[in-house]
Symmetry: C2
Subunit: 347 residues, 2 copies
Amino acid sequence: MSRSINLAVIPGDGIGQEVVAQGLKVLNAVLPQDVKLETKEYDLGAQRWHRTGETLPDAELEALKGHDAILLGAIGDPSVPSGVLERGLLLKLRFAFDHFINLRPSKLFPNTATPLAGRPDIDFVVVREGTEGPYTGNGGSLRTGTPAEVATEVSVNTAYGVERVVRDAFERANARPRKKLTLVHKNNVLVYAGHMWKNIFDKVAAEYPEVTTDYLHVDAATIFFVTQPERFDVIVTDNLFGDILTDLAAAVTGGIGLAASGNINPTGTFPSMFEPVHGSAPDIAGQGKADPTATVLSVALLLRHLGYEAEAVRIEDAVSADLAERDGATSRTTDQIGDALAVRVAN
Amino acid sequence: MSRSINLAVIPGDGIGQEVVAQGLKVLNAVLPQDVKLETKEYDLGAQRWHRTGETLPDAELEALKGHDAILLGAIGDPSVPSGVLERGLLLKLRFAFDHFINLRPSKLFPNTATPLAGRPDIDFVVVREGTEGPYTGNGGSLRTGTPAEVATEVSVNTAYGVERVVRDAFERANARPRKKLTLVHKNNVLVYAGHMWKNIFDKVAAEYPEVTTDYLHVDAATIFFVTQPERFDVIVTDNLFGDILTDLAAAVTGGIGLAASGNINPTGTFPSMFEPVHGSAPDIAGQGKADPTATVLSVALLLRHLGYEAEAVRIEDAVSADLAERDGATSRTTDQIGDALAVRVAN
Ligand SMILES: CC(C)[C@H](C(=O)O)[C@@H](O)C(=O)O
Ligand SMILES: CC(C)[C@H](C(=O)O)[C@@H](O)C(=O)O
């Protein structure tokens, strides 16, 4: 039986190009001989926008649907007005492909620097809702630019959308040794959305008697991220709170250079998309300074999603081993880190 | 000339009672002989709600208007549904009295524990907008409790509301030695509100050429709070982002037991309200375990607001000195800490 992966690649902007090259290098190295890997690169991002004014034309959106998965580097450049590429490309993909699970594992690998004293044991996963909340683009502005301007942003939340992400999170918590799930919201202020989230969470919890549950307001959650991160196992939360919490999580687990993410559509109706949590970092682009590890770990999530569990674990183990041997003194280039990881996964 | 302060006191729930008692003790000790302090206690919070179903009746809201300022302990109890007291009492006061400046200084005092390795130098102030954003209570839910439920939360932002808080923040930044102001928002996703904030910020910035300005997305800001908090001087931000960031700020500067806040109406039309950032902590209530320092520091903010600058500084110096002499081994009761601070400010 021959197997194949038909992968769409969106390197994007800044360091996106560099880190994606390493991700593909490691992917090629880890895949068994019999798996045929086809990749197609999509020229999307700041340069394309400057050239043509397009962010994500319909034809390309259609073409992307034909792939098994998408690997994305990073999107964004200071030369493009804030929001144009984010809304027109990145979020457009997440919404069009109904990526309702935004999966962000947070683990403090051995030998990795953390800003936290005492090196707590950190190993949790954030299941961030990906298609609702304040990210829907539902808002507007009236009398724009005048002293009488009113600007609104509407957070839209549906029982349909909340229940599916909450269920997914319970499944993930149930499959982990500690079996603990924390809901994060702000239901003492955002009472409509917050109470719906909490009620659905409590309802689904009844079906998972082995999962220990907990609720935290988002402000309190940030406190525990720095004082007691070991208390978390799986976290489920809203799109915006998940955005904020996962950057903080990345910071306490050794930085945004290591944080991977998957924008997942578990139904398989549309391709899922995997990307590092970091941005395009234009200040260090093109200098071989970017750490490709977050992208390589995103490739592991991609492989796991496509059913290549053993290969995913091989990548994660390679990253662990590589980090364990890093020493602060010698700094390697993007390419060298990619090479080192490719060698490890091939063995 | 005789001076007087006519203070409303809302001890509230849980440890609120205990910490407010110490705040008043220190206030009495620091005030010059010629200042007549009158206090009136308002019985508001969980117990009142259980007894009468009331959170903040009109008559009391009216009576509160007659005071020079309000000292509040903490609001909230697990026996009351989430949101009832927050929306019906605390936020009702902030909105009714147009507390558009929610001022939250963050300072790592010497000898205070921080979860951050390397003890960075932290001394910044968050100017959180207090009357708009996702806190307006503007939202709703449709088909509540059914699988077809839709729940919305509307963030309302006006040029009027944003400009006044941005101006206040520029004034504060301009008065500090480093003269640096950072705007925090999420204008790459919340494009309507975010762009309005950014445009108004840039417009006002032109009037303060000596203030260095900076913009960060809220997710990135949380990273810098733990990796490089010394980069911040004054931060201005939206109501919800300010809520989240100030809890994180409290965590990195020695904990929520030290974080003070002022809900300020700079026009003086209504009394301003001062409260610790922490909650009612029902788990430790009534045991003399609560640290009253955050409340005592809130009293300093209150005094500064009323024009008693020297007394405010005396309290802050007393807290600094007290913290410098604390040793982790001996733990003092709420009352003992209050006594120690009262003695120091009286000297
Ligand atoms: C770039 C931006 C639109 C995006 C988000 O807010 O989701 C990013 O911060 C992320 O976390 O993937
Ligand atoms: C209790 C709650 C309503 C409040 C808020 O969200 O503003 C609190 O967290 C705070 O920061 O003062």
